[in-house]
Assembly symmetry: C2
Homo-oligomer: 439 residues x 2
């Protein structure tokens, strides 16, 4: 999971960050008796509690993550801490994020079954979720660094996005459940604030926690902070992120939130979930694939050794967009329950033709949104607080800076020029040109 916060978000957001009366951080000794009281767990792990093995494996940023293994199987226990673990108690973060994560996981399990981990138990006071242990899945980002192709990924992530982003919208159903989601997720202010600051604002100002490959990127970072058209476009997208309540977003759908095997895909960690613009999730996937693309030259043993893998990554960009567009349109066309675009108004041939045009217009707007959000996600990972392993694992700063310059160059075009892009092929074509032309 990404380190997510900035100085300006400390303790803000209008929510209590203090622990509830019954909250306590779990450890080996407290977790065992707690888990034994959850009916599903002894069945999953095996009844012999003495042989349960507890390991804390959280990567240290935000949460505690335990893997508990028994003779029959294993479960994962994810518990929020009331502060950013990496920094300490001086940087509070609401425990309630665990509630939003659980709420989002339940919606996802309902609308996109099989694509999220199974949930066995949720304790709101403890801010703790007991869920499926995914094995032999690995975090996709780690696979991308190693150059592994995942044949199911584009299809599965597109299906996940289409089902969630169509299914929670008023294109798919009634106003009442949609407005229930709006009301339920609007209070997730603190986590959204992290996105608002880190993605849309901090990379474009002299924020204390920004970092970049220095001195190689000093000039580029400075030029981005002075780039008025870019800042305007970034802030217009921030406004859109804050106000365009289209669907329930995952909210942090990068390649570190995907666990994969060659035959199975699971989307994890939706604690940043909110009702927002559809293109934000789609852009997160596309942007992180393009970061992986530009990172490959830093991982090649010889120049060109990863040419094939680079093309595989661009093919994923194309397939994710095309397949998402296709599935979203198909779900919309086949639905008659949406309270926006009431199907009965368009039942005749002229109405159906008009709706086909309207769906095309709608998807064109989503494409522009997705491209712009992709660019913003790329920039924040190079110039902001939270970076990505794809680039961080390039140890030679000159090589890393070259990859990052290329990523920033494409990203700026996507943010400022989204409206003039002809389609996804132009995006991948620009990526290919930039990879060849920028030294």
């Amino acid at each position: 999971m990404p380190l997510g916060s900035s100085k300006t978000s400390k303790g803000s957001g209008g929510q209590s960050v203090s622990a509830s009366a019954t909250y306590r951080p779990m450890d080996d000794a407290s977790l065992r008796p707690f888990l034994s009281t959850i009916p599903a767990v002894p069945d999953l792990l095996g009844a012999d509690q003495a042989r349960w093995r507890v390991r804390e494996v959280g990567d240290g940023n935000l949460n505690l993550v335990f893997i508990v293994e028994g003779t029959e199987g294993a479960v994962v226990v994810k518990q929020a801490l009331p502060y950013v673990r990496l920094v300490g108690e001086s940087w509070p973060l609401p425990l309630e994020r665990s509630h939003y994560e659980h709420r989002a996981l339940c919606e996802q399990a309902r609308l996109a079954p099989g694509l999220v981990p199974d949930i066995y138990h949720f304790d709101r006071d403890l801010a703790l979720i007991v869920m499926e242990f995914l094995s032999p899945h690995i975090i996709m980002r780690k696979g991308l660094v190693r150059g592994i192709e995942y044949p199911r990924f584009a299809e599965d992530v597109s299906e996940f996005m289409a089902r969630m982003l169509f299914g929670t919208s008023v294109l798919a159903g009634a106003a009442a459940p949609y407005k229930g989601l709006v009301a339920d997720f609007a209070p997730n202010v603190a986590l959204c604030r992290i996105t608002e600051d880190l993605v849309f604002t901090d990379p474009y100002r002299d924020a204390p926690l920004n970092r970049w490959t220095s001195p190689e990127l000093d000039n580029m970072a400075l030029s981005f902070r002075k780039d008025a058209p870019l800042k305007r476009a970034a802030q217009a997208r921030k406004y859109q992120f804050m106000t365009a309540a289209q669907a329930l977003l995952h909210g942090d759908l990068h390649t570190g939130s995907v666990m994969l095997t060659p035959t199975n895909t699971r989307i994890i960690d939706p604690e940043f979930a909110c009702v927002g613009p559809i293109g934000f999730d789609v852009g997160a996937v596309l942007g992180n694939l393009m970061l992986a693309y530009f990172a490959q030259s830093g991982h090649e043993t010889t120049a060109g050794a990863r040419d094939g893998y680079r093309e595989w990554l661009l093919a994923q960009v194309t397939q994710v967009w095309r397949r998402f567009e296709e599935r979203f349109i198909a779900l919309w066309r086949d639905s008659t329950a949406g309270e926006a675009y009431v199907a009965g108004l368009f039942a005749d041939a002229a109405g159906q033709a008009e709706m086909a045009v309207e769906r095309g217009r709608f998807m064109r707007t989503l494409f522009e949104d997705s491209a712009a959000f992709a660019g913003l996600k790329m920039i924040r990972r190079v110039l902001g607080l939270a970076h990505v392993e794809d680039l961080e694992s390039i140890t030679d700063p000159a090589l890393r800076a070259r990859s990052e310059r290329r990523a920033l160059t494409l990203a700026r075009e996507l943010v400022v020029g989204a409206a003039s892009l002809s389609g996804i092929a132009e995006v991948t074509g620009m990526a290919r040109s930039i990879e060849q032309e920028i030294a």
Copy 2:
């Protein structure tokens, strides 16, 4: 207040419409002891309760409205009924609308002081608001039928809209209070459903409660129900109404929700309040002024007798838009607290120039939105369930139909052609041409 509901909204909306345990409709006998316990009321009315006079003056659609007069002054008591009064208990409507009205009135009093009635007391269980008795104000729509000019109106309603629609947005302030409004008003499902059905859907289908001047408008009503581009545009605006959470709307800002004297303006009845697209409120004002414009020929004693008043109405259309635009931009330019378009990013000359362009782009979009919503508001008042006194009071059906045909002709252009309008002068120019050309 407008009759607001349709068959499809009966009992829907996911909210309980049953009365709470303590709810009871008030009458003369129960109102007196109730009011005597509210500290402000005896001061306002005079201590001699025997001389309080209670009149029920509700127009019969949705609510009970009492005027209570004493020796020292008067108050208004507005109480929701758990059903549509006009139809009866078979048509339930949530009492909670009174809570949303009170919540909106409080926001309006805070942000646009002096432009809404004073609130003395709210009882959520009784769904009852005790508020200022406005005198000698009359409902603006009645004044427009009589041909009265109101010199304060354009300035005051523009100020009200700019203060509310800017002030409750993330352009003006932080995410947390804005998201508080989003969460608080999202459950106002049932009242929004009325808008969604009656404004955006029912006029474009054979809805049982639709009515129009028949047989004069039969062909035009039919052609609108078959007009695929119009239906597409109407439903795209419905989607926008349901998902574009820009600001806290009044939600029903027609000329029947304005009480006026020549020197004072008050906005009343925000029970349809929701967080939605800014242009919806602005369009409601513009559309109702244009309905009044086209209605004038039905109220003339001799042809041309109201030429001057017609031009005054078009001048109001122009002034309301221009003054709203000017005030909204000024409030935005002078604010540094908005979390969208963070002011610090645009402090230098290049940034300020870029933000001036961005504000222009933003207002251009609001103009198109307002024009389209204005058109939709006009159509629903001619072809839908709820009509307006401006037109209904024209007793000669041929004259009324002529006014309505003209209104529908302009309205369709505004809905379908909003993006190609050059500005507000083109709208008033079209109105003038249509008034002269369509018999």
